[in-house]
Amino acid sequence: MSVLGAFTFPPIDELFRWKDVVFEDTPFAINKTAILMLVSTLLIVIIFVGGSRRMKMQPSGTQNVLEITYEFIDGGITRDVIGQDATRYTPFLGSLFLFILFLNFWEVVPFIQFPPTARFAVPLYLALQTYVIYLFVGFKHHKLKYLTGHLFPEGVPKALYILVTPIEFVQLFLVRPFSLAVRLLANMMAGHILLTALALLTAYSLENAPIISIGPFLLNIGVTGFEILVGFLQAYIFTLLTAVYIGDSLHPEH
């Protein structure tokens, strides 16, 4: 214990709060989070517009990757979850998936190592977007029956509505968007804290007891690989749940 006796972990704010680069103290202030979001958007646009510029019947190189990505989103998420005729939702789900995926992967890019999705504003905005869309789709397709169908489900004894209706109401309007946002935030935040803690531990023990530092160092490499998996999985789950909620709004009987 004496080796790590003086080791202190910095306050959480220091890991997530970045200084404004331009337009300080205005609503348009730009910091690392905003820059990374802009860069990811640009990257996605460049990769997809550039990759689909000269498309061939026999795909090769970039076109292969783009087609697999499209197949994954259209076949694996949209058609499987919402329905065979739901291809019109693929552009939205696809951009959502790619945006979150690129933001999450900044966590393991050397010298950047910060996932913008670990700031609550980003997942909250994405979740609210999903929230507005599935409510809009529900009310557009079923009018007020959407609300009554959810709040007063069929096959439930009348007396139980006292219990069921408030739960369903909270579930539909509060728990869904909140849990969607918190799930992404907490996963990325936990990963970032874990990587930082291991890196600090390595650096600290390298100074004081070099033999011990091999442990956290190897662990850090392993956790980095695990974080790549988590980043992909969270983007997938966010998109999947968005698709499930939209599908639920379209066909509430399922």
Binding site: I12, G76, D80, V81, S179, V182, R183, L185, A186, N187, M189, A190, L233, Y236, I237, L240, L241, V244
Partner: protein, 87 residues
Amino acid sequence: MLRLLLAVTQLQPDLKAGLQSIGAGIAYGAAAIGPGIGIGLVVGNAIQAMARQPEMQGTIRTTMFLGIAFTEALALFGFVLFFLAKS
């Protein structure tokens, strides 16, 4: 007991932060128990289903991730609460 703790807290401000940290740690630990069991059940049954019907693998995997996501949310609420309780 609580009154005693409160009195001690006023005597030593450092102790308050320490107790808060302990409380936050216990809260997160407790919040992780249920989801741990739940995710174990979900994945275990999904693997069993995949082994019995390999042709249904795709559907089962999608449903498994959905189940994990819903179960995991509880643990993550605990994680967020951990930071709220600590500060």
